[in-house]
Symmetry: C2
Subunit: 365 residues, 2 copies
């Protein structure tokens, strides 16, 4: 029997797009000692959020509120939008998949940067939309090139992460606003702000949900330290949110995660502490770079792109780091792949990571 897949599925090539640290640990036959490669937070969770999660475990038998009512209302109040201008789902990845489904038919043109967040591309390819890319400009996503390409191909969606993953750079609000204002007719901006809490004021463009051209994505995975809990949200024009409601899995949020996120939203003391600790950890990577005569790109995220000079040297460093029990990754596309991406951690672990890098760099090819 030939399995009767849908037309678009039959066209998809086999792939293993995502290899997690656990799989690498199984291959090497030992756990990593330091896990600083997946942009996870090393700075804990909100104590009020953790207490709520502890308490909610006893309610694991109950489905979560499918509307995420309390979480949406808490976030909406914080952001100054209406609660029905927001949808919560199991992480930004899930929301990006729904977004592509909402706006893309087979062949619909979509624009992103070459080397930017791969999960968006994964969904674009999965739905058979046509992915167009423009190069980074140095270590920055090139908003002018994105705009030019969007006009050239008649894009339906343009993806921008601000701050950016994998480089940790960011644009100021005026640059993002210029991108928004310059979008072609019938083109929307997928604005991924997963790391926005780590950036200083002036990086996030003003939220204007009356403008249907911007879908803004945020998450509890990064500053809030809840990647394993899967809570992300999208803020957008009400009509777009209504469309998400027509296709999303209404019961896919974890009840414990929802409780934890709701109790964490306004824990500003926690966020302030995390931001300070992240900044201190950045400084230690910058100091390491100085010491080694390398370039570290100033970071607006919870990782730092450390330029080791070439892909070959970067790959050799990652391999040696793994031998020393340190899990780290690097960007996959030139010119970004001269760098390794150093996940920020607490002082003791950060010192260990930096010392290990310092001991290995002199031996690199």
């Amino acid at each position: 029997m030939t399995i009767p897949f849908a037309a678009q599925i039959a066209r998809l090539p086999a792939s293993t797009p995502f290899v997690g640290p656990e799989e690498l640990e199984r291959r090497r036959g030992a756990p990593f000692r330091l896990r600083v490669g997946a942009n996870e937070s090393a700075f804990g969770q909100s104590p009020t959020g953790m207490a709520a999660m502890q308490a909610a475990l006893a309610e694991s038998a109950w489905y979560a509120d499918p509307t995420s009512h309390d979480l949406r209302h808490a976030l909406a109040a914080r952001l100054g939008v209406a609660a029905d201008e927001m949808v919560v789902d199991a992480g930004i990845d899930t929301l990006l998949g729904l977004t592509v489904r909402l706006f893309c038919d087979v062949g619909t043109p979509v624009v992103t940067s070459l080397g930017a967040y791969p999960t968006f591309n994964y969904h674009v390819n999965g739905y058979g939309a046509a992915l167009h890319t423009v190069p980074y400009k140095g270590f920055f996503e090139d908003t002018e090139a994105l705009l030019e390409k969007a006009h050239e191909v008649g894009a339906r969606l343009v993806y921008l992460a601000n701050p950016d993953n994998p480089m940790g750079t960011c644009h100021d609000a005026a640059t993002v606003q210029a991108l928004i204002d310059g979008l072609p007719e019938d083109c929307l901006l997928v604005l991924d702000e997963a790391y926005v809490e780590f950036a200083p004021p002036g990086v996030a463009a003003a939220i204007d949900t009356s403008n249907p051209r911007v879908l803004r994505f945020r998450t509890f995975s990064k500053a809030y330290g809840m990647a394993g809990q899967r809570v992300g949200y999208c803020v957008a024009h009400r009509e777009i949110i209504n469309a998400f409601e027509k296709i999303r899995n209404h019961f896919d949020l974890n009840r414990v995660a929802q409780a934890g996120a709701t109790a964490s939203v306004n824990d500003d003391a926690f966020l302030t502490r995390v931001k300070a600790e992240v900044e201190a950890a950045r400084q230690s990577v910058y100091a390491l770079a100085d010491r080694l005569g390398l370039y570290a790109e100033p970071s607006f995220t919870n990782f730092v792109a450390l330029d080791v000079g070439s892909t070959e040297r970067g790959q050799a460093l990652l391999e040696r780091l793994a031998e020393h029990g340190v899990f780290m990754r690097m960007p996959g596309v030139a010119p970004l792949n001269r760098c390794v991406r150093v996940g920020l951690s607490q002082p003791k672990e950060m010192a260990e990571v930096c010392e290990t890098i310092a001991s290995l760099v002199p031996e690199l090819p």
Copy 2:
């Protein structure tokens, strides 16, 4: 600006398909005292699973293993299949959505029973496939009618829940096997076994992953008491599992949930206790039916369909129950909608539910 939705999205009508108990509580302005309407488990979680979840909370900052390696291997060993003949995702609902996407183009014929699990229909409609239904035969899904309709319309998918929701009935393995063996060319069975742990031996058709015509869905939401944690899985031919891997959200499983499910799989002492307590609770509903001169359909799930004689009486009963703080639901389609669906609970709560029903039935129209 007219928002440029994809063609299939633009065709979808606005709807609010799922109303959870929390929304009903907000509308009535008070919490429910007894929550026995959403087929959730009232019988706790595996102690080993709960201990694993408590411990895993501290790792909330880490993404879960995207391959669910340990969970798949534990389940595969238990079921006698290979680990690559299984995919784990955030609940059966999520997997049903992916299944429709894998096999259905716009207009692809799909067959289910009128009044069966609505989330499957939600996804069929969401992807623009053509939903065909056949009536229940009494309170049973009619496998012969499903087969006949599948041949008539040239169905790509046929949905069967065994045991069934919302009626709690089931077919024996031979009947399900006859359905499988009789499927048209290019037609697959979506076999939803969410409640299979509550059924006696002989209800589940033998698992044969060499047959690409059967996708079998199971969950930790029911017998394992983890609905709020979102862990379901699909067992199928390797080539079908490979296709799921091309489109699913690889990081959408909650880390705590994954740890809890993995530690629960083989807790047979727990499952044995739950099954015994569910059986005792069924008996108390059967006894209530006898006492009231009503018919209770013998249940193979964690709820009992209690026939109160008419839709009007059923709706009146649900309204009065809500006034008494009891959340309960009923099937929406004739002839099933003569019944209310009594969720099974622990002895004290079960007695309270039964007494409340007993006090209200004499006042029904």
